[in-house]
């Protein structure tokens, strides 16, 4: 059965879900480098449970998971429009986050060699040019 959630409830669920994933990462990071303690393990388990529950309610319950993982030819035009818009925004957000994480890892590792910077610059270039390259590849006239 499809779960009905208002827009504000869905937004809260998104924040809770990503917040819990972030908390798990922080707990895991602390545990790995500072050592695991009972409150830390309990916090990580609690965050994991909330993350799973919010994932099930938000993505499975509302069938949004199915919507964004269904082949385009099985969707109607409004669904195609909203999934395309969502993927467009996701691409931008994912690119920024990925590059920021990559940069942080490089800085934390204390590596500032030119090769790492070259990889970073190449990925930044790829992220910006890939959409227009795909259009250049596929379209007959532009």
């Amino acid at each position: 059965m499809k779960l009905k959630m208002s827009k504000s409830t869905r937004r809260i669920a998104v924040i809770v879900n990503y917040g819990c994933i972030l908390m798990i990462l922080v707990f895991f990071g602390i545990g790995k480098y500072e050592g695991w303690s009972a409150p830390l393990v309990a916090g990580a388990i609690a965050a994991a449970i909330v993350a799973v529950v919010s994932f099930i309610l938000l993505h499975m319950g509302t069938r949004l998971w199915k919507l964004v993982h269904t082949k385009v030819d099985k969707l109607d035009e409004r669904e195609v429009q909203i999934t395309h818009e969502s993927l467009r925004n996701s691409y931008a957000i994912f690119t920024v986050i990925s590059l920021l994480v990559l940069m942080c890892i490089a800085l934390l590792a204390g590596r500032d060699d030119s090769f790492l910077m070259f990889i970073f610059a190449s990925l930044l270039y790829l992220a910006h040019t890939l959409p227009s390259s795909i259009i250049a590849w596929t379209e007959r006239e532009i």
């Binding site: 109607d76 035009e77 409004r78």
Partner: protein, 86 residues
């Protein structure tokens, strides 16, 4: 890109024929929620979908969709009759 709002008479025509949103959705090949979006004029259909809807109801496309707010169908009929001189 900012699109113009497209007004329609889908809910009037659907209710006139006594069919549900799910039935109409099945006939025109969309999700039933899309019919809701169309009826609330929160989604403007493609030309293909607009034609499918008007063909399903058996009326000209301009009777179902318009770029200006729709007048009541009774007013349209009165105007049509006065034009014909009835």
């Amino acid at each position: 890109m900012r699109l113009r709002r497209i007004y329609n008479r889908i809910s009037v025509l659907r209710e006139e024929r006594g069919i549900s949103r799910k039935e109409l959705a099945a006939e025109i090949g969309v999700n039933f929620q899309t019919v809701g979006y169309l009826e609330r004029e929160e989604y403007s259909p493609s030309l293909d979908l607009a034609f499918r809807i008007s063909e399903y109801f058996g009326v000209p496309i301009e009777l179902v969709f318009s770029t200006s707010p729709m007048r009541p169908l009774s007013q349209e009929i009165l105007d049509y009759r006065s034009k014909k001189g009835e």
